[in-house]
């Protein structure tokens, strides 16, 4: 709001009482925003303050009276906990792997759909469905009907290739979870990249073709640079959503065997709701938040850049 700058000089620099830029106007503008803002602050921000507070205490729910202030002891325990390190590594592997593979598949699918053909809308609808389906139901589907060693569809499909009755979930727990996640998240990447492909400037594509560029040349020189922003956005958004993966692990492996397929959300859940260790799990929560803030800083920069005009530098 720069209206005040244009006001005649004889006005006092004090805010005007009425009209744009006045104090009253400020509140009129703010009023519609406040309910949402206050609600969000209370429900989403206050808990984090409590998390920090709890993380400085030794507090186990099954030992009443054990609650006491212990400073940074919980954090020392977190960083010396070898299981925590294993689980942190799992989180990185699971998030990065799922994002990467769903991005590659999503790119291929998007390229297939980026042309007019018979039944295109129908195929697109089929392809997005795994993303819509309730994650718990999807995990259930993978655990039983698809990955079952004896009656599972996967082993049946692979049986001509000499794969016996493999128990995928026990043998490769983390990979199995990742397969289910990639299946669910590929449609998201596909839609994002498809939106990118379809927003390509047609005149540039035309010009490149007229200049005699090959399809591959056009793809490499025009499409890939244009898609870059969408791919980056897919990576950060995918990472933000996938780092919170809980449903698939809970349903398919319960983090096991041991902690082989546990990620940080699942491990913290175990500590809090099965171990009742409030202090420890709060400290881990804080560590996860700090790690996420680092990722999110990139994400936010990217999203704001995406908003401030199409083709930025």
């Amino acid at each position: 709001m720069t209206v005040t700058a244009e006001r005649p000089a004889e006005l006092t620099p004090r805010r005007p009482d009425r009209g744009p830029g006045s104090r009253a106007d400020g509140w009129v503008r703010r009023a519609p925003l406040l309910p949402a803002l206050v609600f969000t602050i209370i429900v989403t921000q206050l808990p984090f303050l409590f998390t920090i507070y709890y993380s400085l205490q030794s507090w186990n729910l099954v030992r009443p009276g054990s609650r006491q202030f212990v400073g940074i002891d919980n954090y020392i325990l977190v960083f010396t906990d070898s299981q925590f390190r294993q689980v942190a590594l799992n989180t990185v592997l699971l998030t990065a792997g799922s994002v990467l593979f769903s991005l590659i598949l999503g790119l291929l699918f998007a390229l297939l759909l980026d042309r007019a053909f018979l039944g295109r809308g129908f195929i697109r609808t089929l392809l997005i469905t795994p993303f819509l389906i309730t994650p718990v139901a999807a995990a259930l589907l993978w655990k039983t009907v698809l990955f079952d060693p004896t009656y599972g569809l996967i082993n049946f499909v692979l049986s001509p290739f000499g794969v016996g009755a493999t128990d995928w979930i026990s043998t490769f727990p983390l990979t199995s979870v990742m397969v289910a996640l990639v299946w669910q998240w590929t449609p998201f990447m596909m839609l994002l990249i498809l939106a990118g492909l379809q927003s390509q400037p047609h005149d540039v594509l035309e010009a490149a073709r007229v200049d005699g560029a090959t399809s591959w040349g056009v793809f490499r020189e025009v499409t890939i640079p244009h898609l870059r922003r969408f791919i980056e956005l897919g990576i950060v958004l995918g990472a933000i959503y996938l780092i919170n993966t809980f449903d698939a692990i809970y349903m398919m492996t319960q983090g096991g065997p041991g902690t082989a397929s546990a990620n940080l959300p699942f491990y913290i859940y175990q500590r809090a709701f099965l171990g009742f260790d409030i202090g420890q799990s709060a400290a881990m929560g804080v560590v996860v938040v700090v790690a996420t803030i680092i990722v999110a800083t990139f994400a936010l920069r990217l999203i704001f850049r995406s908003f401030s005009g199409g083709e930025e530098t």
């Binding site: 503008r29 925003l33 309910p35 949402a36 609600f39 429900v43 989403t44 206050l46 984090f48 409590f50 998390t51 709890y54 699918f109 297939l112 759909l113 195929i123 609808t125 089929l126 392809l127 997005i128 469905t129 795994p130 993303f131 819509l132 309730t134 718990v136 139901a137 999807a138 589907l141 039983t144 009907v145 698809l146 079952d148 009656y151 569809l153 998201f188 839609l191 939106a195 969408f230 956005l233 958004l237 933000i240 919170n244 809980f246 809970y250 349903m251 940080l264 959300p265 913290i268 859940y269 809090a272 709060a282 929560g285 938040v289 996420t292 994400a299 936010l300 999203i303 704001f304 908003f307």
Partner: protein
Amino acid sequence: MAAPTTTERPATPSTQDLAPARKGRVGASLLTVLAWIVGIGFFFPILWMVLTAFKQEADAYTTPPKLFFTPTLDQFRAVFDAGIGPYLLNSLFATVVSTILVLVLATPAAFAVSLRPVKKVQDVLFFFISTKMLPVVAAIVPIYVVVNDIGMLDNIWTLIVLYTAMNLPIAVWMMRSFFQEVPKELLEAASMDGASTARSLREVVLPVISPGMAATALICVIFAWNEFFFAVNLTAARAATVPVFLVGFITSEGLYFAKLCAAATLAALPVVIAGWIAQNKLVQGLSFGAVK
């Protein structure tokens, strides 16, 4: 299943007599077939789930798996007998009420960051989006403690409040991107005609943004219906939602594929339909409006 374009004439292997256009057509047909194979293959697990839901258990456990069988509704009946009803109602209630609350809160807020902006719009938007990036697992412990202290465990309203907070940032961002599509001239014309803000909102802005509002609502519905983490940690017998029901199902009925599939189909059906309707706006919602 092959696309009709391929049936015209089989492509001859000799390339000499083929004009480039012809070659392009053959390539295009192959890509079409590939797209169909990929689409159906990718969707197949869901198709299989729905098919299995209509099988008798004996038909669900065969090697090789059975594609043809006599369909039955027995499994759906069994799922309802196992008591999915109250869970469906809980899910429905939590989803609908939280989505209404989200729209009631987000629409004015989006207005205040778009058409009639407050100062520091960027900061406000930044705040909203940052709440989506903090992992919920870091908040669950204090939420559990507080909810327990005020006696709101296993209460559907607890979920409603949390789902509203979960979807509000997405809705504000999405609605903002729809408000921005309202032509400025329309608003100016309305205010010149002496229309009050409320009236111009109702008569000028609302018709323009209502499709966007519907899409926002559908995306909130999908997220609220599918939510599991809060539901499993904060509810028990009374307020539990459908995803929690599925968990109970896998532990007690672990060996009954057909029944599991019927339960999973029932759980997923509402959101799949919502998502199919909203599919054109799905990316916009999930990317916080960054991609149209």
